[in-house]
């Protein structure tokens, strides 16, 4: 299940709702991304305040649904939840939540890491940072591509 919303979310309530009544679940992995103060995504700038996330309504949801489906083909998952916020977010605020539940803890842990790596690098969002020199659009980073690349099939791998 995916949601793209302006509003904040309650992690405990979301996990409870997602997994209620399913006693086949043995492990629930989650990741919360928060707005970090004073350390810009872009090494050349200095974020000092809020960030603003812009998204593409419709396409963003489709892409999130597609990555959830991809995770479900790779791991045996009982439940998946992705919540991503947009709009203006102050330091300390929650940006994104990923929850994966499985009968096996490695499946939950790995799929959660896979999804958050994708979300932090490939999800259709654009980030505007408040810096000392005014608002600045963050540029895509090569190091994020490397984190996502871990999950790609290797070009020379046997079929």
């Amino acid at each position: 299940m995916i949601r793209v919303q302006r509003e904040d979310f309650d992690v405990g309530a979301e996990i409870k709702r997602l997994t209620a009544g399913n006693h086949g679940i043995g492990g629930i992995a989650s990741f919360i991304g928060t707005v970090r103060e004073g350390a810009s995504h872009d090494a050349a700038s200095t974020q000092i305040g809020a960030i603003t996330l812009e998204h593409y309504p419709g396409m963003t949801e489709r892409q999130l649904e597609a990555i959830e489906a991809e995770a479900r083909t790779r791991w045996p998952l009982d439940a998946v939840l992705i919540i991503h916020r947009f709009g203006r977010l102050e330091p300390g605020e929650q940006i994104v939540l990923v929850v994966t539940a499985s009968s096996h803890r490695q499946a939950a842990l790995e799929s959660c890491a896979f999804l958050i790596d994708w979300l932090k690098t490939k999800a259709p969002f654009w980030k505007l940072e408040d810096t000392g020199e005014g608002a600045k659009w963050v540029e895509a980073r090569a190091s994020d591509d490397a984190a996502t690349a871990r999950w790609q099939p290797k070009p020379n791998a046997a079929e």
Binding site: G33, H41, L53, E54, H55, Y56, G58, M59, R62, H84, R85, I95, V96, L119, K120, T121, K122, A123, P124, F125, W126, K127, L128, W137, V138, E139, A140, R141, D144
Partner: protein, 83 residues
Amino acid sequence: MKLLYFAWLRQRVGHGAEDVALPPEVRTVRELIDWLKARGPGYGQAFEDLRVVRAAVNQDYVGLDHPVKNGDEIAFFPPVTGG
């Protein structure tokens, strides 16, 4: 045809969405960009460096040679930075 612009492309163009009637000679994303650039300096700035422009047709990423037609929803945006 519905055109959408996001992030700094939106700011340079001056608006986030517009409806345009496609002239018959515009058949690809690249031709659409060339046609838009002739419409004003904001478009010229937005599409100045195509290495940092991404496009989607009907909400799927496409390359510059992808065909376009009236009725499509076409979006232009910088490389995504994630959440």
